[in-house]
Amino acid sequence: MLSRTANDLYWMSRHTERAENTARMLDVTYRMSLLPYRVMEPGEKWAEPWALPLIISGLATSYYQRYSELSPENVLRFMVLDASNPNSIYASLQLARENARAQRGAITIEMWETLNQTWLEMRGKQFADITARGVSEFFDWVKDRSHLFRGVTFGTMIRDEGYSYIRLGTFLERADNTARILDAKYHTLLPSVDDVGGAVDYYQWSALLRSVSAFSSYRKIYRDVITPLRVAELLILRDDVPRSLHHCMNAIYEILQGLCEEHQLEPERLAGEIHAQLHYGKTERIFKVGLHEYLMAFLASSGALDVEINKHFLVPTYA
């Protein structure tokens, strides 16, 4: 397969997944903002719930270049509709569609029609359309379109190399997002040990679980109160939770084993190393290191993996 094709397919699914994750993140923010919350240091803007999506995506600086006030409406405009913010839902869906357009020959007609239709609908939306019936309806639409795209891909695409790159993009983006969302919640919103176990704490953790569609999984698995330790275990170490780091790395490692074939290439080795840490990891050890430190280390190594994948497959440097 052409490297450029692989690269476009990889980014097509990353952008789609990113749009979905941004919607999830904004949705949980919206829900949290309806709850009472503690401000870590009063007066610091970044500690408010609406700062959360900016922090998670690392976009606080570029936000404040455009807006002086932190307000729900501004954050929504910036994260949903702002074409100049490359991580906005608008831009993500546009980029996914551009990648697909460039590779129409490598994907099925149904996949293209899905992304094209999503983009055409997104392009026609105004801010008023998004808030008209509550933002959650819009976020559900974004999630639905992403689910649909994944389903169409699963149901129509030949299991070739291109399919592997599409899945690789999905899982890398998803792992990245789960790590960020977990970190932001743990460190930004709940500094005080006294709050642990309180009502606010409960609602925040359950909102977070809902944002990654893991609330009922939690119930099913633990049948007990929500604790940070278990949430971390669920979203980091459990391999049966589809948005957990372990589940994502399972998929990534397996895909890379296939792509590297019998050659011993760095992407496979690095993925194996990250995977092993999750596979043999223990929650107690994670908290001993510190959840934040652990997640930062994970993000660093998944970033390094992305670099290796680029070097070996997507943007090869030979000749």
Partner: protein, 474 residues
């Protein structure tokens, strides 16, 4: 449905106004339909085309602007006997054009024999001296030709243009058929319409036939200028239909006079390139040095016979408007045959007497730029204003060799769905002729229609639309 029987030959009603036999089953079917049905089908077609994303980019507007080419739901129907004649004529013409290209890039017999002035060929901007003496597989230069044909007078076929460089439009031909079958499956049961959807197979087979000698299982790739090219949809469409890679210049590298693509598993050799990039942009080392679309070293691999380009470099000299008047002579010279299809009488304004004749009659003639295409830079006399004619006259007199003129043909019309209902609109036809070891084509072509009343310009960039074209099996 009204036709204009006095002036134009109508595809449905000829010159008399009576529905012709080959349109009968279709008309019978349409007349039984409730009026809203067609309105609804028309809207459905718009939605489907938008969703499928069959669009073209328009030059001169914002980069990346995409538009739909209007699709008309009334098919253009061609009787079997008419097509047989057209097919023979097209094959004859393309055969002669390929022989002409082989000749002028090698022995130059037609020039030595004084049939065509040597200067006219060798000083032509489209003549590529780098091709002199370079042999190409099977001596085929124009593997894909899109010949523009019109009907005029009492329905005789005339060739307007031989497009031998990178003709486009075939994807619309195929998509229009698909759309008609999706919208009106029932109508195909009543008409024996010759299938066309094997075009990509024929094209791939043609490309494989012209692989460099000694390559048994050739790798074929389609070279596109990229996603902002106006025909990008077609490039992806054809690559997908043929199951070949769609490459851009940046995806190819040349090493040891061999072309490779950059793949996820290292370099892979490419044997045949169906290129949709103009000559000038193919290789910055040989042609335009500022081209970013091409592949440095591509020409060296081509010259070494390690890769086939389809179409070959330098085919533009044969489809140039200044060469057009000579095609009947080429047919006579190379094949010893009489041309089956008519050429439109053409005045060459570099000739003094032609120029004098033409400037006097701008109001009744069509004037075209020799190197123009896409309907840009032309004057349709009867439809022009005095000011436009005055402006054109100045341009012509300043550079007469840049222009040719032709009589305004009474182009045939075809019933077309427009704002006011169904009305006759002028049409042309672009069949796609494939030349490998033999000359082949699928029955039909792309019918373009000028949607504006009275307009003779069918180009999509100038407000033209398209129709499905049915060649009947008998």
């Amino acid at each position: 449905m009204t036709a204009n029987p006095k002036l134009f030959f109508d595809e449905m009603r000829g010159l008399t106004g009576e529905v012709l036999p080959h349109y009968k089953p279709f008309v019978d079917w349409v007349e039984k339909l409730p009026a809203e049905y067609l309105v609804q089908k028309r809207q459905e077609a718009d939605v489907l085309f938008q969703r499928v994303g069959i669009t073209f980019a328009v030059y001169g507007e914002d980069a990346g602007t995409e538009r739909l080419i209007p699709f008309d739901i009334v098919p253009r129907i061609i009787p079997a006997a008419d097509w047989r004649q057209l097919e023979r004529g097209l094959a004859q013409r393309v055969r002669a054009l390929n022989l002409f290209l082989r000749d002028i890039y090698n022995e130059q017999g037609i020039l030595k024999d004084g049939i065509i002035p040597a200067r006219k060929v060798l000083e032509n901007a489209q003549y590529r001296s780098v091709m002199q003496g370079l042999r190409v597989p099977g001596d085929t230069y124009a593997h894909i030709a899109g010949v523009d044909v019109v009907r005029a007078g009492a329905g005789e076929f005339y060739v307007l243009e031989d497009n031998l460089r990178v003709p486009s439009g075939v994807s619309y031909m195929l998509e229009n058929r698909k759309m008609m079958m999706r919208l009106f499956p029932e109508v195909f049961g009543r008409n024996e319409v010759a299938p066309i959807d094997h075009y990509p197979d024929l094209l791939l087979d043609t490309l494989r036939q012209v692989a460099p000698a000694g390559v048994s299982d050739p790798v074929v790739a389609l070279l596109t200028p990229g996603s902002y090219n106006s025909a990008y949809f077609e490039h992806t469409f054809l690559a997908q239909q043929m199951g070949i890679e769609l490459v851009e210049g940046q995806d190819l590298i040349v090493r040891d006079e061999t072309v490779y693509m950059r793949t996820t598993r290292g370099p892979k050799r490419v044997d045949v390139i169906y290129r949709r990039v103009d000559d000038d942009f193919l290789d910055p080392q040989v042609f335009r040095p500022d081209s970013l679309l091409g592949v440095p070293g591509l020409f060296s691999a081509y010259r070494a016979g390690r890769v086939t380009l389809a179409n070959a470099i330098g085919t533009g000299v044969a489809d140039d408007k200044s060469m057009y008047p000579h095609v009947p002579e080429m047919i006579q010279y190379y094949l010893g045959e009489k041309p089956i299809l008519n050429n439109v009488p053409t005045w060459q304004l570099r000739k003094k007497e032609d120029l004098t004749y033409v400037v006097e009659r701008l109001h009744e003639l069509v004037v075209k730029e020799v190197h123009g295409s896409g309907g840009y830079g032309m004057l349709v006399g009867p439809a022009s204003t005095m000011a436009q004619r005055a402006e054109f006259r100045e341009r012509i007199v300043a550079n007469p060799e840049k222009y040719i003129a032709q009589p305004t043909l009474a182009l045939s019309t075809c019933p077309t769905y427009v704002e006011s209902g169904v009305a006759p609109r002028h049409v042309d036809l672009r069949p796609f002729v494939l030349s490998g070891k033999e000359v082949r084509m699928v029955p039909g072509g792309l019918t373009r229609v000028a949607l504006k009343e009275g307009s003779l310009v069918v180009n999509s960039s100038q407000g033209g639309g398209t129709k499905d074209t049915w060649v009947l099996e008998r």
